[in-house]
């Protein structure tokens, strides 16, 4: 049996720029930054006191089945449950009963319930060991987001939680894509979620000298920019409905885009930095998986988060990737708008790419003013006009040497649009 083609038929968003695809796209297009002084806790003792927070109005407390357990979970659980249920609703995808037999759930989670772990340690040390919540373990387990999505929706199909640091979300989407393409399942909910805005995250990234310390100074973070000084922490979740294309057409589903390729690789320049050669290898493998060439790529949604070494390593890889052809695809990063959202960063890149593939303008790399001379030949300041984007490449990298890349294209590009029918 031939490989299935895989399309995106729904999306659920919980982001610092809003709770829908449209709000996210509008914020990106308008060059809006969600980076603001941190409001969740007093950050005055930290060198970095800014973040891209998800507003409570974007992700109100859960209601319905297992609402109590969701509320006791880490932020990543709140975000993931909301995003997954929005995706299922947007894609009109049923998760209960017979529907689950051909569906799977793939969720990428990086730090899990770090926030709840920190709270528990403080509670233990200040009030005593027996005052730790009986929900402590379940609040922080990385799989609890997928678990509660399933329990709340009577979903009985397979669920997988993938933890590959910041590449987790892209890996989850990629693994779901491969499972559908090889006809193991017909559809999947797939995405990533993280909620790391907690004091221990600020002190830990501060210890790594990774955080931007421009608190109200020059706009930050500054992906690709000569004057970048580090990342800004963000949070959120994005979950997609992925579906075998013919099934989606038969049921008359709205088709946002087609996922064509995916690769994930190991290797890096240490535990916290990518290597140019490994990034290049991963991008090439993703294009090969899509049976595409670098000349077929119109836009790259990059990992670039504002760490000079990491951003330049990625640019070196992209420069090498596109050196052979004449194409100069646009290269952009959305971290200036959203901060670094960890496991959600790849899925947020995919959500932005889906916008560009559906006629939205390519979002400019916010705060990028000047690149190093060796990158002057790259298309980092493209004409941000709408349309004409047929295919995007998404690059992600996670601590520990985890690379993941996705190739996503306009739906039905190069083939006629079949007649849609309700089933």
């Amino acid at each position: 049996m031939s490989d299935a083609r895989v399309v995106i038929t729904g999306a659920g968003v919980v982001s610092p720029l809003g709770g829908t695809l449209t709000e996210l796209w509008r914020g990106l297009e308008d060059g809006e930054s969600a980076v603001r002084p941190l409001s969740r806790f007093d950050a005055s003792r930290f060198a970095c006191r800014i973040a891209a927070e998800v507003s409570p109005s974007v992700c109100p407390p859960a209601e319905g089945p297992y609402a109590h357990e969701v509320r006791r979970g880490g932020k990543f659980v709140h975000f993931a449950v909301a995003a997954a249920e929005r995706a299922a609703s947007d894609g009109r995808l049923r998760l209960d009963g017979e529907a689950a037999a051909s569906c799977a759930l793939y969720l990428g989670v990086s730090t899990g319930g770090l926030d709840e772990m920190e709270n528990a340690v403080i509670r233990q040390e200040t009030r005593g060991a027996r005052k730790v919540s009986p929900y402590q373990i379940t609040s922080m387990l990385p799989n609890m987001a997928a678990g509660l999505i399933a329990l709340r929706n009577d979903f009985t199909g397979p669920q997988y939680t993938i933890s590959g640091a910041c590449a987790s979300g892209s890996q989850a989407i990629g693994q779901a894509f491969h499972a559908i393409r090889s006809r193991v399942v017909d559809c999947a909910l797939a995405g990533g979620a993280d909620g790391v805005l907690t004091p221990i995250a600020f002190s830990s990234f501060q210890a790594m000298r990774m955080l931007s310390t421009r608190n109200g100074g020059r706009p930050t973070p500054r992906p690709f920019d000569c004057d970048s000084d580090g990342i800004v922490l963000g949070e959120g979740a994005v979950v997609f409905c992925l579906e075998e294309r013919e099934r989606a057409v038969r049921r008359g589903a709205r088709i946002y885009a087609e996922i064509e390729g995916y690769a994930t690789c190991s290797g890096g320049g240490g535990v916290a930095l990518p290597s140019t050669s490994d990034t290049l290898r991963c991008l090439r493998l993703a294009l090969a998986d899509a049976r595409r060439d670098s000349a077929d790529v119109d836009c790259v949604y990059a990992q670039a988060a504002g760490v000079r070494k990491g951003d330049e390593s990625e640019l070196d890889a992209l420069q090498a990737l596109f050196a052979a052809g004449r194409a100069r695809p646009a290269v952009t990063s959305i971290k200036g708008h959203l901060g670094h959202t960890f496991a959600a960063s790849g899925p947020l890149n995919l959500a932005a790419a889906v916008g560009a593939l559906n006629g939205r303008k390519i979002s400019p790399t916010l705060n990028l003013e000047a690149v190093a001379p060796q990158y002057s030949g790259m298309n980092l300041f493209p004409d941000y006009g709408a349309g004409a984007v047929r295919r995007c490449l998404i690059n992600t990298y996670g601590f520990g040497g985890v690379g993941a890349a996705l190739v996503v294209a306009q739906p039905f590009h190069g083939s006629p649009v079949p007649e849609a029918k309700e089933i």
Binding site: H68, R72, R130, K131, S133, P134, Y135, T138
Partner: protein
């Protein structure tokens, strides 16, 4: 605090914890089936909440030994009483 006052306050605090109306609770209500969906983790957490409300500390194995809400009321009364004096009475 009288047993009736403890009952009233306990029901009030259970309602606060569960964020629902539990005015239907009676002294003879069984703890195991106090409200729908009150599983073991939620029961343990509810006891922590009641500890904070009454400023007492329950024994770890308490739930397994109590059957009704009245048993819990009596236990809380005993704990409150024991706070006043040196003697501690087991249930």
């Amino acid at each position: 605090m009288t047993s009736t006052e403890i009952f009233t306050k306990t029901v009030q605090h259970i309602g606060e914890y569960l964020e629902q109306d539990v005015s239907n609770l009676r002294p003879e209500s069984e703890l195991a089936t106090l409200v729908p969906g009150l599983d073991s983790l939620k029961s343990f957490e509810m006891l922590l909440y009641l500890e904070d409300c009454f400023h007492v500390e329950f024994e770890e194995t308490l739930l397994g030994r109590l059957k009704t809400l009245q048993d819990l009321i009596d236990y809380i009364a005993m704990k409150l009483e024991s706070e006043k004096g040196p003697a501690s009475v087991a249930v």
